[in-house]
Symmetry: C2
Subunit: 288 residues, 2 copies
């Protein structure tokens, strides 16, 4: 089975892919990425991921859009070449080789890398539960990148590593106002009095494609939904909690690490949303 990647217009063997270290992506974390679950050889809601990437290109001054149709075609070709049925897709686009001034933001020649490979992902209707730890690192809602999925990602990795060292699977951040924002690779949800609550974008978070799908499912199923500013105390008093991620879907939170620890039961809302999300992905990722 071949293991190729797409790099700047060509499919090349993974081990042979090379870029210049004078790429702004390497020198300054100056780029964007998306990760997507592939199901039946189809990336779930690839269009939404590419739209988000292009919204970020506009917001971050690239002076151009990425060619979504070309990226989609390259992704399909790569998935076929690597025979990916269920797996991982990552699309990376940097602002390209360093040229001119640091502050010349126009991305005349972006570097584009697509990686698609088979991965043994947990089933969407019953992924393993997560334990969450509070991160001591505050997110800043007025910071420039907090709403974008950028290559300047080191802080999220480090916070996640700290959480895992404490025995958690993920972390949750507060912003400088003390409100919940998101996790390192997940969006946060909890259920209070039957209402699904999730921090508003204004709190400073990446609006996930899975988060959006879950909000759609709440509406379709008549589950009350509230977006806003929430404190960690409100999370701790919740009946249920879950987090969302493009690879893993809707993941129940079983526990928040304390002290004191907070345990959550396997509640009906999370179970219903896991089933509904699995069905949605299955329906949208049908080969003709």
């Amino acid at each position: 089975m071949s293991d190729e990647v797409y790099l700047n217009g060509e499919l090349v063997p993974r081990a042979e892919a090379r870029i210049s270290p004078f790429d702004r992506g390497f020198l300054y974390g100056d780029g964007l990425f998306e990760t997507v679950r592939v199901v039946n050889g189809i990336p779930f809601r690839l269009g939404r991921h590419l739209e988000r990437m292009n919204r970020s290109c506009a917001a971050l001054g690239w002076g151009r859009q990425l060619d979504s149709e070309r990226l989609r075609a390259a992704t399909e070709e790569l998935i076929e070449r690597n025979a990916v049925a269920v797996g991982y897709l990552r699309i990376t686009a940097s602002r390209g080789p360093l040229a001119g001034k640091l502050t010349d933001l126009e991305a005349a020649s972006p570097t584009v890398l697509i990686d698609a490979h088979a991965m043994d992902l947990p089933p969407l209707d019953s992924p393993p539960d997560y334990v969450l730890a509070g991160s001591p690192h505050r997110a800043e809602p007025a910071s420039l990148l907090v709403r974008h999925k950028t290559l300047s990602y080191q802080a999220y990795l480090l916070a996640l590593a700290e959480g895992r060292a404490k025995g958690a699977d993920e972390v949750y951040f507060l912003n400088s106002c003390g409100h919940l924002t998101e996790g390192a690779t997940v969006n946060l949800f909890f259920v209070r009095s039957g209402t699904v609550c999730t921090p508003d974008e204004g709190c400073g978070l990446l609006p996930g494609v899975t988060r959006e799908a879950v909000m759609e499912l709440c509406e379709a199923q008549g589950i009350p939904l509230s977006t806003g500013e929430f404190t960690p105390e409100e999370l701790m008093q919740a009946e249920e909690a879950f987090c969302t991620n493009s690879l893993r879907g809707v993941v129940r939170v079983s526990r928040l690490l304390g002290p004191p620890d907070t345990e959550f039961g396997r509640g009906p809302v999370t179970v219903a949303l896991q089933s509904a999300y699995a069905a949605l992905v299955d329906a949208e990722c049908q080969r003709e």
Copy 2:
């Protein structure tokens, strides 16, 4: 004249240098860098820059130190090869190729890039003045990376580009408490009642090598120095203001963009520190 770079143990022509795009530096901005002014073919206080880099390696979980002696030797060889008398040195070290989990932080095989080339830099005793703009983007003192010079640098570039679009040369940030921190590529200083003031490290900033040298010079010259928490109003009421950067040294701030604008005179403290810094660099960068 040759134009080579050092990459992972070898000198190679700049245009031929290549890394894998699956380097954590590219995928996640997961690495560190230092920029240094080269004078008489000697990088000013390279040792301090390498110490800072290794403090960051320790703080960020690399599980190893970079070999300072080897980096120093490689830098000297490269400077000689490229015949750099006055110029720019950048040492970049990423956590290396992606292997294992995202949260495996141990840097078993870092990617090291050294770039040294001649650059027409302004004289240290009279660099052109800077105009500063306040950045709307808040730094967060409890954030994980604010004290380290990491490859996750995109936010600084964007804030700088925004400042330049307003007609400024640099920007100044406030932290979420409203205190001054630093600029995108500079540390901040101002003079009030004859005392040199600069934000304390605890405000959330990169402690610059030039900042440290200026603090030493204040002590040597009997100029009162105060580090602490300062508001932008205190900066605006100052008699003089300047900023520091490894490439440009001590740069007088002539104006803060408003409205209303704040103008600063060419005061005696800034002038004295520019002369003293130029003399210090000259003295330390003498070839035997």
